[in-house]
C-alpha cells in the first residue's frame, strides 16, 4: 500500500533504510570473503593481489588451512561430533514427536514445557551444569570401577556430544512434532486394515511422511552442533572443535587463514541452510 503515489518521501526513506540494512548485514561477510583471497599477510587491506595460499599452502609462515594439521583435526572432530549429535537428536525428535502427538497422559503439558527448557537456559549455564554433573558422576564411576572408568564423562568427545544433544534435541523435537501433527492417522489405519502390522504401517507410511522434517531437522541439528560455542567451550577436551580452536587462536590475533576458514564455513553452512530452508518451507515451525 506504500507503493501508491503520494508517499514518495516515506518510500524514499524506506528504500534508503533497506539499503543500509543490506550493507550492515552482508558487508562484513563480503569483506571477510575478499580478504581470504588477498595476498596480504596482515589479513587486512590494501589489496595485494589474488592468492589461494590461505587455503592451500605448506610454506612455513604462510600455512593454508588445508595444510594446517590442527585445523584439519578440528574440522574432523567437529564433523564427527555433529554426525553423532545429529543421529541421536533426530532419533530423540521422532521419539518425542510420537510421545506428544499420539499419546495423552497426565503431566504431558508440564513435560512439554520442560522439554523447551534447554532452549531457554543460556548456553553457558547449560555447559556449566552438565560439566558439574558429569564431573561428580565420573568421579563416582572411577571410585566404584577403578580409575579411568569415568573417563568418557570427562571433558572430551562424548561429553561434547551429550552437552550438545541436551539442547539440539529440543529443536529436532519441535520440527518433527510440527510435521507429525499434520499427519492423518487414518492413513496408518488404512494400511493396517489392508493387513499391515502396526510397526509395518509406521515404517512404510508414517516415517516416509516424516522424512522431509527428519532431514530438515537433521541439517539444523548438524549446523547447531557444528557452530556451537557456549556449551561446547566448557565440555571440550584436548581435541577442540573448530569454533573452540578458532576462538583460542583469535585471542592471539587475526591471520588470513582464519579468513579462509570463515569463507569455507560460510559456504558449507550457507548450502546446508538453503537445503534445510527448502525442506521446511511447508512446515511452519516457530
Amino acid at each position: 500500500m506504500f507503493r501508491q503515489k503520494g508517499f514518495s518521501l516515506s518510500k524514499f526513506l524506506f528504500y534508503t533504510y533497506a539499503v543500509l540494512v543490506l550493507f550492515f548485514t552482508l558487508g562484513p561477510l563480503v569483506i571477510v570473503t575478499i580478504l581470504a583471497f588477498n595476498n596480504n599477510p596482515s589479513a587486512s587491506f590494501p589489496w595485494q593481489g589474488f592468492t589461494l595460499d590461505w587455503f592451500k599452502s605448506s610454506t612455513p609462515g604462510r600455512v593454508g588451512l588445508f595444510d594446517d594439521a590442527r585445523m584439519m583435526n578440528a574440522i574432523g572432530v567437529s564433523i564427527k561430533v555433529a554426525i553423532v549429535v545429529t543421529l541421536i537428536s533426530v532419533a530423540l525428535g521422532v521419539n518425542n514427536a510420537f510421545l506428544f502427538v499420539r499419546h495423552k497422559f497426565r503431566g504431558q503439558g508440564a513435560l512439554y514445557l520442560l522439554m523447551l527448557g534447554p532452549l531457554v537456559v543460556p548456553g553457558v549455564v547449560l555447559g556449566t551444569s552438565i560439566l558439574a554433573f558429569s564431573y561428580g558422576i565420573a568421579n563416582g564411576l572411577d571410585k566404584i570401577f577403578g580409575a579411568g572408568a569415568g573417563t568418557f564423562l570427562r571433558p572430551g568427545f562424548w561429553l561434547v556430544v551429550l552437552g550438545q544433544v541436551s539442547f539440539v534435541a529440543t529443536t529436532t523435537t519441535l520440527v518433527i512434532t510440527a510435521r507429525l501433527k499434520r499427519f492423518d492417522p487414518s492413513l496408518e489405519e488404512a494400511a493396517m486394515d489392508l493387513g499391515a502390522s502396526r510397526s509395518q504401517a509406521v515404517r512404510l507410511i508414517t516415517i516416509p511422511f516424516l522424512m522431509p522434517a527428519m532431514i530438515g531437522a537433521g541439517i539444523i541439528a548438524f549446523l547447531f552442533s557444528f557452530e556451537n560455542f557456549n556449551t561446547t567451550y566448557f565440555l571440550s577436551g584436548p581435541d577442540p572443535t573448530v569454533p573452540i580452536l578458532l576462538y583460542s587462536r583469535l585471542r592471539f590475533g587475526i591471520t588470513p587463514e582464519i579468513n579462509a576458514v570463515s569463507v569455507l564455513l560460510m559456504v558449507v553452512t550457507g548450502i546446508l541452510g538453503f537445503i534445510s530452508f527448502a525442506f521446511q518451507k511447508e512446515d511452519n515451525v516457530a
Binding site: 506504500f2 540494512v21 530423540l92 549455564v125 570463515s262
Partner: protein, 282 residues
C-alpha cells in the same frame, strides 16, 4: 490396539525422553543448585557463595552492567528490526522482500564466532574501518575501534537481528493492510497510524523478540569477549573464570544460578508489567 499395549508403547516412548531431559537437563541443574549451597572445602551447607557475590562490589557491578547493557542492546535491536520487519511485510515488492529476508537470515547461518570475527576484522587497529578512514583522510593514524562498549553493542545487534525481526514479521503479517489505509483515510498521519494501529498489533511479536534477544545478550560469551576483550566485563565471563580458571565449581554454580534466576524473574516481571501472555504470543 489393546489398552495394555498402548501403555507399553507410552512407556517405550517416555523412557528415552525422560533419560534425555532428566540426565542432560534436570539433574545437571539440580546439581548446579546443590553445589551453589555447598562449601568448597568442608562440603557442608553454606550461603557463603551467594554472600560472596552480594558483598563483592566488582561482581555486583559486572552483574548490573551485564543486565543494563543487555536491556539497552535489546531496545536498540528493536528499533533497528522494527522498520526491517515493516518494510518486508508491508512495503517491499517481491524482489526487495526476498533480498531483505536473505540479508537477515544469512548472518544467522554463519556461526556466532565467525560473526564476531568479521567485526574484529573491521574494527581492529589495522582493520578495514581504520584503513578506509585513513584513505579518505578523516584520520591520519590507525585507530583501535575494538574493546569499546559501542563495538560490543554492534556485535550483539548483529547476532540478534534475526531473532527480533522474524517474530515482529510474523505478527505484522496478520495485520490487514486495509486497516492501515482506513487510518489514513480517516485523517491519520504516518506516526499516528504507527502508534494507534501498527505497533499495538505487533506487540506480541515485539514481546517474543525482545525476550529472546534479551536472553541471548545476557548469556552471550563469544561476541562480548572477542569484541570487548578485557573491557567486556560480562557476567558469563566470571562464570567461566570460576569453573575453568579457578576451578571453583561452588562459586561458579552460585553465579550460574544467579544468572538463570535473574533472567527468568526479569522476563516474568516484564510480561506482568506489559500484561502480555507469552503462550498467546508464541
Amino acid at each position: 490396539m489393546s489398552a495394555s499395549a498402548r501403555r507399553r508403547g507410552l512407556w517405550l516412548l517416555l523412557l528415552p525422553m525422560l533419560l534425555w531431559i532428566g540426565l542432560l537437563f534436570v539433574l545437571p541443574h539440580l546439581k548446579l543448585f546443590y553445589l551453589s549451597f555447598v562449601d568448597r572445602r568442608s562440603g557442608s551447607f553454606t550461603l557463603a557463595n551467594y554472600l560472596y557475590f552480594f558483598q563483592s562490589p566488582l561482581y555486583r557491578k559486572i552483574f548490573v552492567r551485564t543486565a543494563v547493557f543487555s536491556v539497552l542492546v535489546t531496545l536498540l535491536t528493536l528499533f533497528v528490526s522494527f522498520p526491517i520487519a515493516f518494510i518486508i511485510t508491508k512495503v517491499a515488492g517481491k524482489r526487495l522482500k526476498a533480498m531483505l529476508l536473505l540479508a537477515v537470515i544469512l548472518p544467522y547461518w554463519v556461526s556466532e564466532l565467525i560473526q564476531a570475527f568479521t567485526w574484529m576484522v573491521i574494527f581492529r587497529e589495522s582493520g578495514v574501518l581504520s584503513y578506509v578512514l585513513q584513505k579518505i583522510g578523516l584520520i591520519n593514524h590507525p585507530i583501535e575501534f575494538l574493546y569499546h562498549d559501542a563495538t560490543i553493542a554492534v556485535g550483539l545487534l548483529y547476532t540478534s537481528l534475526l531473532f527480533m525481526t522474524i517474530p515482529i514479521m510474523n505478527s505484522l503479517d496478520t495485520l490487514d493492510n486495509s486497516l492501515i489505509e482506513a487510518a489514513y483515510d480517516l485523517g491519520g498521519d504516518f506516526w499516528s497510524t504507527m502508534r494507534e494501529i501498527v505497533i499495538p498489533h505487533a506487540a506480541p511479536g515485539i514481546m517474543v523478540g525482545s525476550i529472546m534477544v534479551f536472553m541471548l545478550n545476557l548469556g552471550n560469551y563469544v561476541t562480548v569477549t572477542l569484541l570487548g576483550g578485557k573491557n567486556s566485563l560480562w557476567f558469563t565471563e566470571i562464570i567461566y573464570n570460576q569453573f575453568i580458571v579457578r576451578f571453583n565449581q561452588n562459586l561458579g554454580s552460585a553465579f550460574s544460578v544467579i544468572l538463570l534466576t535473574f533472567s527468568v524473574v526479569f522476563v516474568w516481571i516484564v510480561l506482568k508489567i506489559t500484561k502480555q501472555d507469552l503462550s498467546e504470543a508464541m
